[in-house]
Amino acid sequence: MALCCPKPKGNLMSLDETAVRRIARLARIRVDDAEVVTLRGELNAILGYVEQLNEVDVTGVEPLSGGAQMAMRLRDDVVTDGNIAEQILANAPDRAGMFFAVPKVVE
């Protein structure tokens, strides 16, 4: 394995500017035109790098989702805390009484 940086091969996984804007929209991150150009290059470099995974035959392999070598633990379905509204609201950028406040959603 070489410690170098594989460049994207072909256009198979290459993102265009429209795709970058679509991803930014899905991620709820505002991007300007200059950022779209930079991000396109950087994201394509990363996608080009991970493309080597296509070499691996994964026929019959079960996906591994986590590092814990154990079954998920179940807990009793009981209330363990509560009545801490002030603590929960303490870091709110804006609040209205005992509620988080946001810009108007419904006219």
Binding site: M1, L3, I29, V50, S65, G67, R73, P93
Partner: protein
Amino acid sequence: MSLTDLTIAEAAAGLASRKFSAVELTAAHNDAVAALNPRLNAYITTTPEHALAQAAAADAAIAAGAAGAAGPLTGIPLAIKDLFCTAGVRTTAASKILDPFVPPYESTVTAQLLAAGAVFLGKANLDEFAMGSSNITSGYGPVENPWKREGSDAKLVPGGSSGGSAAAVAARIAMGATGTDTGGSIRQPASFTGLAGIKPTYGRCSRYGIIAFASSLDQAGPLARTVEDCAILLGAMSGFDARDSTSAERKVPDFRAAAARGVKGMRIGIPAEYRMEGMSAEIDALWQKGIGWLREAGAEMVDISLPHTKYGLPVYYIVAPAEASSNLARYDGVRFGARVDGEDLIDMYERTRAAGFGAEVKRRIMIGTYVLSAGYYDAYYLKAQKIRALILRDFTEAFAKVDAILTPTAPSAAFGIGEKMDDPVTMYLNDVFTVPSNLAGIPAMSVPAGLSSEGLPLGLQVIGRHFDEETVFAVAAAIERAADFTAKPSIIAGGAK
């Protein structure tokens, strides 16, 4: 010897025998922090008065002291990575989006350290949301590595993401520190700063109250100046916690005793795939030295193969961003953190996240969003999870033949601030040796083993079976004894080396 130069084990003995007080020990560290932190930027927030109050309480506990009544860390001043929530003390994850955040609760790991008597000097700098290998992505400025190349004053990175933790302990402005390790974030900075650092088995330390990056990979662990100090810290940090659904219901072993075990008769695996084209010759030479040391100490070396090693990094750069994009969805300017007003709710979200996140965090959120999006999930995320299973299988097969695995920690020594910045993938390659253990969930430790030709520290990595940190500590301690690493950094409390 000055108080800031002691190991945790030495300081605990000194406190117990009343050679000095916890207040004296903490005051010495507060002074050192005040003198060096403006230059190193190892702490984002310092809490000197809080620390002195905790130290006074430690002195009271020692004075009241039926033997053993005080905890194992009573009066020991530590740095806490600013990714651990600390009740009433600002916690930023080194992100401007959390700049105003003051947690109303304490993480389990820090609560356990406090219960063991520890003193917190402040919150250590890191790469933003722990995403990075250099500490350059911090929203609060880079950290300077206290080590210098011989004959050069160039500022080097301390590694990352636990770069502030590492720089603080190396410069003797903390006796030990907490870190977190998602792809190498404890081990790589430990290697870059001449420290010991362990990422324990996934599930060993509770993730409750640690700001999440990639939940299936994140693990807390300690950085310290000796293997024994790491064992003491990890003992206090570990244990079952019902508030973390992946916390392991297992007894915490005596790690300190394990570190003293020795390696006679052990079988140590040397994986062929970690000898990489382009790796520096001195890293390879150090690895050979480590092999020699363990053989002399009575271990048997076994050539092994971990055939999917080269796919570890690309798998990581799908899995970690995918989980990050999901975890970081919560930063929307509504419940906590910074907000930038917009024309409507969506505009407010988009402006808040554009202003609050740095470039690396945005890149990773967007990669994660893409690989999880409709039409791409199977090709990227599911495929990566299947190869993750093959990486675990490599280790499982290897551990049928060996007790532990020895590798280099990182492919190079610390590099300059501003180097390796040309594209994201170059920076990612720092983690090539550390990422596979996170993907497999197994414990791995970096231990200082020597200096590069430029006088910079280099670490070796010991990897163990699930929940067998004891063997990892035993092997790391054997390397530590043989390496006899006594070099000190240029920038250090109490003056130059």
